[in-house]
């Protein structure tokens, strides 16, 4: 029979919103459980280079918060774990099933020395570098992962036992099995984040076929200090690119791919990357093809103007098709919206600024009792007065689980969710 653990609040998701909500509540004395499906907390933000419009180092903002969350006496974190069957028995009484997947590594014993990685003979695509390089079957997810401990990708493991032989801490444990824990909490915060649009759903852009067509997340990884390559390079041939195109609204504002809404961040992260590219590759030309530039936040328009001053070219144009030419270069066919003329332009690399979509499976965690909006984000029942309130009292939503938003707005949203959760826990439940 599985064991039962009790907490005040269950926070689903250990990204920036989940951590912010958890810290706010833990600082008020509530016992908080964070359940993160990935091997590390930190969400997507921990993988970014810099943030807009300040160009502050993203990891420098994230990692202190990650550490604070991990060390907080009122916060318990389960990584590589999932929750299901969240059942509301009554107010302040939620039950859930937590499934902890086996890492095949004893977390408390692993020092993150990576000797196991050196010994492992298997190499597969590294999902944390968005498939640009390989990783081993036993691996520390990434250098600033928390917890910074190894895990074994059992589906790709050759069962050679080399990792177990070399581990100085004797922490490889192939006897680990999936563990189930019953959870009892008084309230729930949903901070499940978002997923990125899959650009293979627009075959005319050639992603996956033309290797020099990459996603914005792949370019983001090329711009961080822990990048997959030694510089910004073309995945096809390792050439230093000198004429890079950005294709905005790739999978956003597009009824044909089922996502008619704006992802809110693509314009600004593309402008940010363009500026960073001009720093990394001073001789490179960067062109951004856009429908409308939505620079609506504080300092955003100045940031946009700054990129123009730095030499980024902006073309109001809708990309119809990308073709590969000789040497892996790319020909972009587009409608120049200003002149109404179809034109072609040559670039040696194209970045698809992919949009933000709702994560799958959020409502099913609640046995489909949680209401979603028409775009599958968590429905906010009273967006003006109680923006974190869902259709279930005691269940609140934080960050991009409720819709596309940038990092500051995600943190604000998490603040709202923690405040509303705190109000609920202090007896503020209103039956109306």
């Amino acid at each position: 029979m599985s064991k039962t653990e009790e907490y005040d609040v269950l926070v689903i998701g250990g990204g920036i919103s989940g951590e912010e909500a958890a810290l706010n509540l833990a600082d008020q004395g509530y016992k908080v459980l964070i359940v993160e499906k990935d091997l590390s907390v930190g969400g997507k933000m921990i993988h970014l280079s810099k943030v807009f419009p300040t160009l502050d180092c993203s990891a420098c903002i994230t990692t202190p918060k990650v550490s604070e969350t991990a060390r907080h006496p009122n916060i318990t974190i389960y990584t590589y774990s999932e929750v299901s069957n969240i059942d509301k028995k009554s107010e302040y009484d939620f039950r859930a099933l937590l499934t902890k997947h086996p890492r095949y590594v004893i977390e408390d014993a692993c020092t993150g020395c990576q000797l196991c990685e050196e010994a492992c003979p298997v190499t597969v695509q590294d999902q944390y570098q968005y498939d640009l390089v390989g990783r081993k079957a036993v691996y520390v997810p990434f250098s600033i992962a928390n917890p910074r401990v190894a895990a074994i990708d059992i589906e790709n493991c050759s069962l050679c036992g080399a990792c177990e032989k070399v581990c100085p801490a004797d922490c490889i444990d192939f006897t680990q099995e999936e563990e189930e824990i019953q959870i009892k909490v008084k309230s729930v915060v949903i901070a499940t984040g978002f997923k990125l649009f899959d650009p293979t759903l627009i075959p005319r852009y050639g992603f996956g076929v033309f290797k020099n067509v990459v996603t914005s997340m792949q370019m983001e990884r090329q711009l961080v200090p822990t990048r997959p390559y030694n510089n910004v390079l073309r995945p096809k041939d390792g050439k230093v690119p000198d004429n890079i195109a950005y294709v905005l609204c790739a999978g956003s504002r597009d009824e044909t791919v089922g996502n008619p809404i704006c992802s809110q961040v693509c314009c600004m992260y593309s402008i940010k990357q363009a500026q960073l590219l001009m720093g990394a590759l001073p001789m490179a030309d960067v062109t951004i093809y856009y429908l409308h530039i939505r620079s609506f936040g504080k300092g955003f328009n100045e940031f946009y103007q700054q990129s123009k001053d730095m030499g980024v070219t902006f073309i109001k144009g809708k990309i119809g098709k990308i073709e590969e030419t000789e040497n892996g270069d790319l020909k972009l066919r587009y409608e120049d919206i200003e002149s109404g003329v179809v034109k072609e332009a040559n670039h040696d690399m194209a970045v698809l600024s992919v949009g933000i979509l709702a994560n799958d499976g959020v409502s099913s965690m609640f046995n489909n009792k949680l209401e979603l909006d028409q775009y599958n984000f968590v429905e906010q029942k009273d967006i003006l007065a109680n923006p974190a309130q869902t259709n279930m009292s005691g269940v609140y939503v934080a960050g991009t689980a409720s819709g596309p938003m940038d990092i500051p707005d995600s943190i604000l949203s998490a603040g709202a969710a923690s405040a509303e959760t705190s109000g609920y826990l202090r007896g503020g439940y209103d039956e109306k």
Binding site: E117, E118, P121, V122, T123, V124, L132, V133, G134, K136, I154, E155, N156, C157, S158, L159, C160, G161, E164, K165, D170, I172, D173, F174, T175, K211, P228, Y229, N230, N231, L233, R234, P235, K236, D237, G238, K239, V240, M283, G328
Partner: protein, 88 residues
């Protein structure tokens, strides 16, 4: 703790695709490392020598760089391609 690998071997089998991927990666790894024994080379030079697609060489080369087998040297005269060499 004793060796636990023997316990899981009684419960799981390694799939053919894992064996094939491992074999393929290690074959390309050997080819790239052998190619760089004589002199430092760019991705297109290595690809031409070992007759593999450019993107396959780039992926494997960068993975070898990540794991410390090779390192990047200077960029060529056209500022287009880096030279890669074995890490001593």
């Amino acid at each position: 703790m004793g060796k636990t690998i023997d316990i899981i071997k009684t419960k799981r089998k390694v799939s053919d695709s894992v064996k094939e991927n491992m074999k393929a990666f290690n074959k390309i790894k050997r080819q790239i490392l052998k190619s760089l024994e004589t002199e430092e080379k760019t991705v297109p030079q290595i690809a031409q020598e070992i007759d593999l697609p450019l993107d396959v060489v780039t992926y494997h080369l960068m993975t070898l760089q990540k794991y410390g087998n090779i390192e990047a040297g200077e960029v060529d005269d056209m500022d287009e391609f880096y030279f890669y060499k074995l890490k001593k």
